[in-house]
Subunit: 150 residues, 2 copies
């Protein structure tokens, strides 16, 4: 099997997309993460769900989750309001290491796809041909395809 | 909202579960990862899908995915056979840092749940009461619950 046979339709967002809309898309389509493209369509990064939480939760609370107790329940539930007037670029880690973007070309074999996702600890890899995203492969779909029938 | 209200049913496996069965469960139930318990039911680790790929793909290929080209397509598709006669314990990283297991108690607020997942880069957190797993919260479900209605 090659990456292009494994690729499934996967919605993409751009670095300038509205953050709230992007997170809503991820939740609604039950995606493990988002593929973020530049304005020209080239993949720029994969944004896993846990990275969105890193943006929402203040750094000192991440360092010591017990400090979350200083927030009352209402303030805690309003965490998401930080997405208002933010873009997807704001959600991304600073200076993403370009090497670590999980992208494969259509010819990649399953082991290459697996290696790229393993290396980047990513739940999804983008399949790219001619600088455009053809689709994506999730860890779950890859494992499902590799698994012998029960 | 509190963790116990957000918790959803989530199948667990133990460190001694058959690795192939565990991965099949994850693929079939479309889970972002597996909650791994000790024999006594206490949560021991969360195993995200990308960690399973880290077990399957030889280290030197992870370090340089281009080396995957030495595998032909058939050998690549047979990657999964490494799961035969393995247990879930084999899939886990060595000496997991006990601090980094994404576990919250039923009383935790949403920000505490978010902080624990963000810190561990985990797609899921286990909700525990009286040393037993009550259920789990995925990043996706947490974001979905926090999101204002469209």
């Amino acid at each position: 099997m090659r990456a292009r046979d494994l690729a499934q339709h996967f919605p993409t967002v751009t670095v300038d997309s509205d953050a709230m809309e992007a997170v809503r898309l991820m939740a609604r389509e039950q995606l493990p993460g988002l593929i973020v493209c530049e304005a020209n369509g080239r993949p720029y990064a994969v944004l896993p769900g846990s990275q969105i939480l890193r943006f929402l939760v203040p750094r000192y609370v991440q360092d010591d989750p017990a400090l979350a107790r200083v927030y009352d329940e209402k303030a805690s539930d309003e965490l998401i309001s930080k997405l208002v007037n933010s873009t997807v670029r704001d959600l991304l880690p600073n200076k993403p290491d370009i090497d670590e973007i999980p992208v494969v070309d259509g010819d990649a074999t399953t082991i290459e796809v697996a290696a790229v996702m393993a290396r980047a600890h990513s739940p999804v890899a983008a399949v790219v041909e001619n600088d455009q995203v053809l689709g994506a492969i999730t860890v779950r779909h890859l494992l499902d395809q590799l698994m012998p029938s029960a």
